[in-house]
């Protein structure tokens, strides 16, 4: 493709990097990414991916912007309170970078719509805030071999990793085979979250996506990165494909899409 003068200028800090160059920027502009959840993780991930010129971004979230979201969900504004989050983020991203085809879908991601959405995208960023969605996203990505860039937060801590879903790579259920029973693990609404921690984790997810499409360096595949803001430490745990994984193991229990685990009340996507 040929860049316009404006694109040469807009993406000049990428293009000047030998690891990206014009070819890498072209690959970013050709990429189609689905972002699940327009919340704390989805906000920074969507902003950086749109700014970087990911060609097509879809954001799905069924909830409306509330004032208690604004402490951390930086894609929204006070003037957006009451608006559907997917629409609020769509408008923000379109304003940030008109190169990007942005779609906002106000719906809950579920068994009946996820496969159609995955068919139209090359990768998924999971920024959802509940277990049924997280396990559904993993299962659908694993079944369709769609790369999944996942992050999660609670209180002062975050977890982030990448599942490329190719060859002998692991999936989320290799790491955490089953969701917890109701009430065992609290949500951010119940336990709190330091606002900037979602930014740290969401931008790591975005960085992984950009490296994936620009074909740069080492990914987090095979590594669960843990972040603790209190001690300001990152630690790593090796993630391996597990023979008894209920999804991709030797004798899988799960052979079709399921929605398992408990939604918390008032859970945005």
């Amino acid at each position: 493709m040929r860049f316009t003068d404006e694109q040469m200028e807009r993406y000049s800090r990428h293009i000047i990097l030998p690891e990206i160059g014009g070819r890498g920027q072209e690959r970013l502009l050709a990429a189609r990414v689905l972002i699940v959840g327009a919340g704390g993780l989805g906000s920074p991930a969507a902003l950086y991916l749109a700014a970087a010129g990911i060609g097509s971004l879809t954001i799905i979230d069924f909830d409306d912007v509330q004032i208690d979201n604004l402490q951390r969900q930086i894609a929204h504004a006070t003037s957006s309170v009451g608006k559907p989050k997917a629409i609020s983020v769509r408008d923000r991203l379109s304003d940030l970078n008109p190169d990007v085809q942005v779609k906002g879908i106000t719906a809950r991601l579920a068994r009946d719509n996820i496969l159609d959405l995955l068919a139209e995208h090359d990768a998924v960023v999971d920024g959802s805030d509940n277990f049924p969605t997280r396990y559904l996203v993993n299962d659908a990505c694993q079944m369709t071999k769609t790369p999944l860039f996942t992050g999660a937060v609670l209180r002062f801590e975050g977890q982030v990793t990448t599942f490329k879903m190719q060859g002998e790579g692991p999936c989320y259920r290799c790491l955490f085979p089953e969701p917890p029973a109701a009430g065992l693990i609290p949500s951010c609404q119940e336990a709190g979250i330091l606002g900037s921690v979602v930014g740290m984790i969401g931008t790591i997810q975005a960085t992984e996506v950009l490296k994936h499409f620009a074909e740069i360096g080492e990914s987090l595949e095979g590594t669960l990165m843990l972040f603790d803001a209190v001690s300001m430490e990152f630690r790593r745990i090796t993630v391996r494909k597990t023979p008894d994984c209920p999804l991709c193991g030797v004798n899988p229990r799960i052979t079709e899409l399921v929605e398992e685990g408990q939604f918390c009340e008032d859970s945005p996507q």
Partner: protein, 90 residues
């Protein structure tokens, strides 16, 4: 002593401490030592049959104990142990 890192909400079982240093030669002994000092961790990480919940990971020096000697994995001074749950905040 080995250092045990716990991630929220498991720190509810250690008076809010995210790092605990305890004596023990195996993973089982470390967990018993934490249980004795604080009380409440076993109930958070094991099911009624005494098996580790399938949403909890224990690692020794970054390696999941399912790929080591499970709860019999040996630990020594300076080892870093992590006990963490799946979390879903977004």
């Amino acid at each position: 002593m080995p250092r045990v890192h716990l991630q929220a909400p498991l720190t509810q079982a250690t008076s809010g401490q995210s790092v605990v240093e305890v004596n023990g030669a195996t993973v089982t002994e470390l967990i018993e030592a934490i249980e004795t000092r604080f009380g409440g961790l076993r109930k958070m990480i094991y099911n009624e049959r005494g098996q580790l919940h399938r949403h909890i990971i224990i690692s020794v020096n970054g390696e999941d104990i399912r790929f080591l000697e499970d709860h019999d994995t040996a630990v020594r001074d300076g080892d870093e142990i992590s006990i963490l749950p799946v979390i879903a905040g977004g």
